[in-house]
Symmetry: C2
């Protein structure tokens, strides 16, 4: 590699990043300018094909400090991804392909980053997926999978707990395919990292089980960076390459906080261009030899993909079973009839906790879906997520499993788990990843959950102990605001099944989803099998579970409150108020049904009361009155706790009667009817 | 200390904890039995008075592994806190004083724990408060404050990111007054910690700047534990004493996962009692000499408090200014007229971003409130939380501040920050603690925020960049579900002020709150001073900000959408639809107003449309129709983003007109009218 073209290329990245931020008059030029040499070193030895950003054996690159995205967009443009110079010029403008932080959907962007700590944790997930994929499909002579996951992160990411969780697990899992770069520039928004962050970062990573490599001058010493990468590739641990960089290298204010989050001044950019032999009068200029140089790398990547395609063809002949399975996964298809393995239930069947119903579903599904991987945040015996005969995903040296294992032991790391399952999902190959904890502690992972939804990762949360029904653990563990919170997140299914058929329906929708994540809220306590439920009905997200003629009142409920509402409806009928019951196990799915169907479920002219043992917020789109719990719960036996809050057939019936009386004679329209 | 009584006392703790869990048939006996010697060692050298659990200079004890609360309740009972044997017998029963996890409000419980990682992070806050308190009030010869904070934590806490964040900061801050015990019992719910947690925990803590002490046999070697405590008290760093314990020590299943979360079997308890000289036929028995022994410690604590009271009396004479201030703080009172320092605004005043209005409030308040301490999670220049002349809370050796400083540099550690400000609030002395970040990233701290509300810590979140109005940073940073989430949390104020007067009102309510935390959602962009606002009106949480005669439509809005709605109301008036505008800066406060006042603001007979640029969930309690944003935002200039989503006067007016037309002729009742 000629030194000249290398320097020119790196300086092109820096100048372009400065131009991008200056034109937008918004953004972060400092980190891109400081990290340009490392980015150059990484990308020039990576394997990828910009013409097919989804090639399964590409190396992955994650920019965990997503605010430095001017760097990433510049690289993607220079290497020939579908990101034009005009796209770079519309950085951070409405409807552009270059938003303020990198988002999934932009060609070459692997995961959405910006919220700090997420990217490096996604990278752990990408590395787990690669290790599992390779262990599952590689054969002697057929190395179908050997890609690396590279990640840049800064001090901000390292201060975040989510990163601590994921990086500790990465160390435990000995993910040698993960190579991260710590941009140790000593600057964060509050100024010097000396004000809050004086721990020994790399020392800590070593204690997690990482290998550390040092590049003391990453502003200019590209060879040292490349050498560190070569070494990192050889270890059996995750690697962190600490690069000492100067934020805003080249700027008159290099090394200072002022270049972090604001554009460079005009004269600063001029001196930069003059210093590095660019025309100071011109912006957004790339020397043709830089394009040529980078495009050669991309062409080599395209050739590697072509080679891989040949290898995979041969593989399919030699290993027809695995080959067909893998080809299906790469097409993003599920095996034919997969959902038929899920159980259905009849009214006479035993009452079962929905966490237990979920266990049955997971057991059946994993047998037909090699792409189903996941586990629990140290609540396996409570979440009931580990199927009989499961192999743990563990390094063989532990004697506890191997990388072809599909069951993950996340430890008590909910937020890390959320970001990791996002990363596994982002790997491709149809991975269906799930994480499990108590519903209340999915909130610990709020930051990752909203990114699942924003980035269209169809991950699954197995969220058991879904209400005050968990009993003795008390208010610290009993969700109140949780469903209101999750239902308000766009593009998120929040299932709370009432029985076995609804649980099977929830899994059908969750597994077949390609763009929408799911939270499955599951009970600790037993739930009866309902006579009015079926998988087919539940797949609509909402339906009439207890029909009556000429209903004068409708109770609408979810989960454990559906059977309770049916019991209450019977009491109300005795009082002369014919009462129907509607189950809406998932708002998101129900909202997508045709208007006339929805209106047949929640019609005009009948008062509707919601029944759910948590915050009533959000229910008004389906009901006129709400019986819920707008306070924290209580510790006690499940039955006692329900009784304490009057969630009994009598308590529900009492409020149903009040609702009926209140709206008597009023000309009610369905809450579904809205002005716009 | 006689060895005999010591052993008897420790075994009493173990047997009692086993009895408690067995009677409840629910709970965790293993950790209490393993940690009993350490608990004994800590409590017998702590300074506290069970008759006055609020004495300000008491040593604090935090059980971060809150599931082991049978241990804590046992200790509190044995030492003479107001927790009877009957209370112990009703462990985990409805309405008992001994719920499934320790909650603030139980005498002797400092903070609510159970959600893992929170307690140790609260402990960091308690230690920060002590350091600040001592640096502020101690004088030569008058050591008013020298208490320690002790904390027990297990593997679960150490896996949680929130603990990593707080413990890293504790190391940076050199909190020598913090002594934590790591119960290294190698067991978590999934079995051995070998499956997920093989990092070098104490090595990591050392890299954070902690001192480590080891007790290889904490099952029996109480002297070694006491010695370690003595050493830990002498260092200028936070200390971690690693105690190797056997979970369920004494049980037939000691050391195994089976004693973690389930009661001991009957014959196991019998052999335990026989082995240790207790009557196997009897339960809940405490030898009188054990009571006597522990009560002596408590009496020494009471005497220490009496000494302290004398010292404080003398202090008040010698330092009348500080003495009076401190006496006021200890009474839990605010200085007279404190709220008069807050600014009021007139319609002619300049438009100002509410984050900037908040900056003015904080600057004024800190000058009169020595108890106001807080800071930002590395967003100081964006959150505008640091007042002119602020001193950073830092160890002097850093040269960056000192412990009397009131401004905290939290680093990018939102969850840790949330738990730390809870701990500061829990310290007492009227501490008013605040944390700051972007509104969207308060979600990273969901776990701590719900505990603020549950535990009645009146902490304050300064949450700027409160909507898509933050512009270019894009959807990763733009809150959508956030206010719906927070408003669904019981006992939480969620202020979104529309102008200067409302911002001052928000601070008045937040600072004067004694039991309810607050989130202040503040704009990045400028907001005009409204002609219809006043501090007095805003203190009601909701009011008519734009009155018209015979309103045919009401728009109800918060924050930046209030002025937008007023502009829309003017357009609607031109179209013949007289439209009033209501501002509801805080739902919680508005909900507490008298019914007739609320109904005067949102009366029957008029269609009401909510206007807020985020999820509409939760608005139905005030409005019949909703204009919001039930999708993720977009990256672009603020004005462009608002326009893209049609949040313009014309866009609001259009929907207002649709609402008016839709409900025309219908006999509408106010959404405030409900059946029950």
């Amino acid at each position: 590699m000629s030194q000249d073209i290398q320097t020119k290329a790196i300086n092109t990245i820096r100048v372009l990043a400065a131009d991008i931020v200056a034109k937008a008059n918004s953004g972060h030029p400092g980190a891109p300018m400081g990290m340009a040499p490392a980015a150059h070193a990484v990308y020039t030895q990576m394997k990828f094909n910009p013409k097919n950003p989804h090639w399964i054996n590409r190396d992955r690159f994650v920019l965990s400090n997503g605010h430095a995205c001017a760097l990433l967009y510049t690289l993607l443009h220079l290497f020939g991804y579908d990101l034009t110079m005009d796209d770079l010029k519309s950085f951070r403008q409405i409807n552009s392909k270059t938003p303020g932080h990198p988002e999934v959907g932009i060609p070459g962007v692997e995961v959405t980053t910006g919220p700090l700590g997420q990217g490096i944790s996604n990278a752990v997930g990408l590395a787990i997926a690669q290790a599992n994929f390779a262990a599952t499909y590689n054969k002697p002579g057929y190395t179908l999978s050997d890609n690396y996951t590279y990640c840049f992160f800064g001090d901000g990411c390292m201060m975040e707990g989510v990163a601590s969780e994921a990086m500790s697990l990465a160390g435990h899992l000995q993910l040698g395919n993960l190579i991260a770069f710590y941009d140790d520039n000593k600057i964060s928004i509050d100024g010097s990292t000396e004000v809050a962050f004086t721990e020994d970062v790399c020392g800590r990573l070593e204690k997690y089980g990482w290998d550390i490599f040092e590049v003391p001058d990453a502003d200019t010493d590209v060879a040292a960076i490349s050498e560190a990468i070569a070494k990192a590739k050889k270890t059996n641990k995750p690697s962190c390459i600490r690069i000492r960089t100067t934020i805003g290298y080249g700027s008159l204010n290099a090394g200072s906080h002022s270049v972090h989050g604001a554009p460079l001044k005009k004269d600063d950019i001029i001196q930069l261009k003059e210093k590095w032999g660019f025309d100071p009068e011109k912006s957004f200029v790339v020397p043709q030899e830089v394009y040529d140089f980078y495009h050669k790398i991309s062409e080599a990547g395209a050739a590697a993909e072509a080679e891989w395609n040949k290898l995979f063809e041969a593989y399919q002949k030699e290993f027809p079973k695995e080959g067909a399975e893998l080809a299906r996964r790469l097409r993003g298809e599920l095996p034919e009839g997969w959902q038929n393995v899920l159980p259905t239930y009849q009214p006479g069947d035993a009452a079962v906790a929905s966490r237990k119903l979920s266990e049955v579903c997971l057991g059946k599904l994993q047998a037909v879906l090699p792409e189903l991987v996941g586990g629990s945040a140290d609540l396996t015996p409570s979440n009931l997520t580990r199927w009989s005969g499961a192999i743990d995903f563990q390094p063989e040296s532990t004697g506890l499993g191997n990388y072809s294992g599909k069951y993950l032991r996340f430890g008590v790391r909910e937020h890390g788990m959320g970001a990791i399952i996002n990363g596994i999902s982002a790997y491709g190959a149809n991975y269906k990843s799930f994480g499990a904890t108590f519903l209340n502690f999915v909130s610990y992972a709020s930051g990752a959950l909203r990114l699942s939804a924003l980035s269209h990762h169809p991950v699954i949360w197995v969220a058991t102990h879904d209400s005050i029904g968990l009993g003795e653990d008390g208010p610290t563990h009993q969700p109140i605001e949780t469903l209101a919170h999750f239902r308000a997140i766009p593009n998120l299914m929040v299932w709370r099944p009432a029985d076995g058929n609804e649980t099977s329906a929830a899994y059908i929708k969750a597994i077949s989803s390609t763009k929408t994540p799911s939270v499955l809220a599951l009970s600790r306590q037993n739930l009866p099998q309902l006579s009015g439920s079926s998988v087919e009905k539940a797949l609509k997200g909402g339906y009439v579970v207890h029909e009556v003629d000429n209903a004068k009142l409708i109770l609408v409920a979810t989960g454990s409150e559906v059977s309770l509402s049916i019991d209450a409806a019977k009491l109300l009928a005795e009082k002369g108020i014919p009462t129907a019951v509607v189950s809406i196990p998932d708002f998101f799915t129900f909202d997508q049904q045709p208007a006339d169907y929805k209106l047949s479920v929640l019609p005009d002219g009948v008062p509707i009361m919601s029944v759910e043992v948590m915050a009533t917020s959000g229910w008004a789109k389906y009901a006129h009155a709400h019986f819920g719990l707008n306070r924290f719960g209580a510790s006690g036996k499940t039955a006692d706790v329900y009784k304490f809050f009057d969630f009994t057939p009598e308590g529900v019936a009492k409020r149903g009667e009040q609702t009926f009386e209140f709206f008597k004679g009023k000309n009610l329209i369905s809450p579904l009817q809205t002005p716009f």
